[in-house]
């Protein structure tokens, strides 16, 4: 009988490939956003609005993560940006090696921002670092105000929270100030946006936040 002390991180392999990805993004000055939410919160629609607002000014690329189908990639592709679909074939999250594998599909020298739309899920994607600069969570008001405290990790790690579908507030029982209060209590630095992607409201501050991040990343590359 023998005891072996390991203290080995189970996700260590994922993290080290994530850091390899992030070194590539730093060298190229690409701002990378990991977009997460539960299914149906409005990730793809927010993405469509974001692309339409930014595509004239910046070179954008999108990685679409889904368990199956390429519906989302087709929707995004119609907006005239480079898009690659990853089908996880059942896995509930993207991991860093999946991202690394598809980077060859992009012209990284030209790209300003890469948005990764993760698989719809508030639990697992938070655990897997992909090499991104920022995680953003979308929470739609129809999901209920209790979600920040039920899924604390994702709200702790995110840099931005987009509260979506606010046009539905008159019809449902959701206390949006509680979402804001609980999320800020978990993470005071969280940038919070209130939007309706179908009603095209609240999107300007979101766009400005992204532009700030893109420019900051680009400047860091130029200074390097």
């Amino acid at each position: 009988m023998k005891q072996i002390e390991l203290q080995q991180d189970i996700l260590g392999h994922n993290n080290s490939i994530g850091y390899e990805n992030s070194a590539i993004f730093a060298r190229k000055g690409i701002f990378v956003l990991n977009l997460m939410s539960s299914p149906g919160a409005g990730k793809t629609t927010l993405l469509e609005r974001t692309i339409d607002m930014l595509k004239g000014k910046y070179q954008l690329g999108v990685i679409e993560g889904d368990i199956a189908t390429s519906y989302d990639a087709e929707r995004i592709g119609a907006h005239g940006v480079e898009v690659t679909q990853i089908n996880t074939g059942g896995a509930c999250h993207l991991d860093s090696s999946m991202i690394k594998k598809v980077l060859v599909n992009f012209d990284l020298d030209r790209l300003d921002m890469l948005i990764i739309e993760n698989v719809g899920n508030l639990v697992c994607p938070a655990e897997f670092f992909l090499g991104e600069d920022a995680k953003a969570v979308i929470l739609s008001v129809t999901e209920g105000e209790d979600k920040p405290l039920k899924y604390p990790l994702i709200f702790r790690l995110a840099k931005a929270l987009v509260i979506n579908k606010i046009d539905l507030l008159p019809y449902i029982d959701c206390n949006i100030s509680r979402i804001i209060k609980d999320a800020s209590s978990l993470n005071p630095a969280l940038a919070i946006f209130e939007t309706s992607c179908t009603g095209h409201t609240g999107l300007n501050t979101w766009k400005e936040w992204l532009e700030g991040k893109i420019n900051e990343k680009r400047k860091n590359r130029l200074n390097a």
Partner: protein, 117 residues
């Protein structure tokens, strides 16, 4: 939800390490799982048991240490345990951001039967 994938990673590390140590059998695997990690211990044990079949880790015991969430307030230099999502520093009342523990997904220790024994 991703316990099966995690269990696969665990099994890979366990079998690699056991082989390196010339193990004939894996007796026990001890994990550190933080309370913030999105992993259900019961589900992880179930997946581990299935994956261990027909390997030298078959019937190995899986022990899971739950690691409490501890955070550090950089202003007050205080480290404290988080209960019920309460991340506020007991001294200044501000939310502490630095996670000291609670996100662990670690293999702490292996117990093996050695060939040379």
């Amino acid at each position: 939800m991703h316990e099966f994938g995690i269990a696969q990673s665990i099994m890979q590390i366990v079998l690699d390490e056991a082989r390196k140590a010339n193990a004939r059998k894996v007796i026990k695997v001890t994990l550190n799982i933080g309370e913030l990690a999105g992993v259900l211990p019961e589900s992880l044990s179930f997946c581990f048991e299935i994956l261990a079949k027909s390997t030298i880790a078959e019937n190995a015991a899986l022990a899971i240490n739950r690691i409490p969430i501890r955070v550090h307030c950089s202003q007050c230099e205080v480290t404290f345990q988080v209960r019920d999502n309460h991340y506020h520093c007991p001294r200044c009342g501000k939310t502490a951001m630095e996670i000291v523990s609670g996100r662990e997904l670690q293999i702490a220790q292996l117990e093996i039967d050695n060939e040379t024994d």
